[in-house]
Symmetry: C2
Subunit: 300 residues, 2 copies
């Protein structure tokens, strides 16, 4: 299971108490921070997100509302004397921006910061439980989305049954993979007799800032939860296109094309105080839509 | 008259809802922003400080808690389509840090940003009503304090009296400067007959982050309001010295040596939730001390 918590859902200029983009995706044993607008370290405290679990940070692009909080967070982690390494997946230029600011303060971080520049579409992290890929989206400057996919979960063994059939423990891994067991006498014990089904592996796609682009749907096909920006309501489609952003109904159209199970919308323009119209417009096309409200966690 | 509003009073890691250093000094016709920690743009909104009045920003040094909010503020001013020029007085390296981040976002600010690198002690702004100087303080990295001094105010003319004596308007400026008037018949009209005294010109010194350094007192001698950091209480004098910071009683000692009229203390370490002990300790030595509490304005 994955849990996504929204820390910021506003575009560009902070407004109505809403913060710039930041999200945390938590798995059973680690957390990923996705974008890090100004004030993210305060939002992490407010929503009691454990910083020590954050092992990787992903920055979609170098517009300030997606990364100006990063240097403050890194500095604070340093002052808190973090020792565990931290991985940063971000546009290449961010490495220089961070280093310049650390140098200016004569700061050496007490932890290893591994910088992984984003580039071609493809896998950027292949862990024990998760595969994470990046894909280019179409924005005013270089910009990437991220696809988080749990690896195929294994079947669960029912120990009392496996013991009753005298299956040796050395064979348990094969059972988890779904294999049947053949006894010494040649009797076949069907896998379903001694295991229960694997929980389905889940996936989350974060599409960052993007113009309406149908080619995106193929990159996030069948995802359990799709985050797509909706900077504007549908009546401002022209302005959205000019600024390489999307509207409520465009996000919903992508979710539909991608056959996503659920759509999460955010990156609301500061011109909107009331957010409900975003939900209403999106749901007309894609009913299973939710607003990315700050402090709210979504179970995937 | 000058008005100083505190936007942030905490050191390094944000804690207990306290923000990193930022202050606004307002005069009759313009405002100066002093330091700009992360989240300053939100604090400006919270305390309803008019951004359009801010014409100059002063950054004391390049530790993040004194400037990480600047790039966000500049970007927002740009998005709000500010046209009036803005002057930035800051350590030289900040120019490169800002430019790199603007370039990364392909952003061209719609207003002129004039960068004035800090260097030798002396006057950095000589305006109509104010003279502003910088002076080096003793911290772990290059660090500057700022002295804001109103120019000598002129005497106020009592128009009905000046008219009664038939003093020509061309002579009014001389009256404001305190000169007597001699009539065509040779009668001397003493200045005090037609003017009232000038209001005293006020001064404010911001001493940034500094170790206890008695030489500072001479640089801010006789100032109306002195801001001096008190990162620690008096029992942590050794730690303060190690980290090039000061304690409550050290700040009070400097205020006393400088014969300041009033002392304002801030930059509290995140280890302290309760701030009253700072006040108690400082007041033992310098009774006219106040805590730099966020959102509070001090009339100078």
């Amino acid at each position: 299971m994955l849990t996504l918590t929204i820390l910021g859902n506003n575009s560009a200029i902070p407004a109505y108490g809403r913060n710039p983009t930041a999200q945390v995706l938590e798995t059973a044993d680690e957390s990923f921070l996705i974008d890090c607008g100004e004030g993210t370290q305060l939002q992490l405290s407010r929503y009691k997100i454990k910083r020590s679990r954050i092992c990787r940070i992903f920055i979609s692009h170098l517009h300030g509302d997606h990364y100006f909080g990063l240097i403050g967070l890194l500095s604070s982690l340093g002052l808190m004397n973090r020792k565990q390494e931290l991985h940063l997946h971000a546009p290449p230029l961010l490495q220089q921006i961070i280093q310049l600011q650390l140098d200016a303060a004569l700061t050496t971080l007490p932890f290893s910061l591994h910088f992984h520049p984003l580039g071609e579409d493809g896998v950027i992290y292949d862990g024990k439980r998760m595969t994470i890929s990046c894909f280019r989206v179409n924005h005013r400057i270089d910009c990437w989305g991220f696809l988080f996919r749990e690896k195929r979960n294994t079947r669960s063994i029912m120990p009392h049954r496996a013991k009753a059939y005298e299956i040796p423990m050395a064979y348990y891994e094969a059972l988890q993979q779904g294999k049947d067991y053949t006894t010494k006498k040649g009797t076949i014990i069907p896998n379903e007799e001694v295991t229960t089904a694997a929980t389905p592996s889940k996936s989350y796609a974060f599409c960052a800032d993007t113009i309406y682009d149908e080619s995106l749907a193929a990159k996030v096909q069948g995802v359990d939860l799709l985050y797509h920006e909706t900077t504007y309501l549908k009546d401002l489609e022209d302005r959205a296109a000019e600024r390489y952003h999307s509207t409520s109904i465009q996000a919903a159209a992508i979710a539909q094309l991608a056959a996503a199970k659920k759509l999460l919308i955010g990156h609301f323009s500061s011109k909107y105080e009331i957010l409900e119209p975003f939900l209403e417009e999106s749901r007309e096309i894609f009913p299973n839509t939710e607003l990315a409200l700050e402090g709210v966690s979504f179970m995937i």
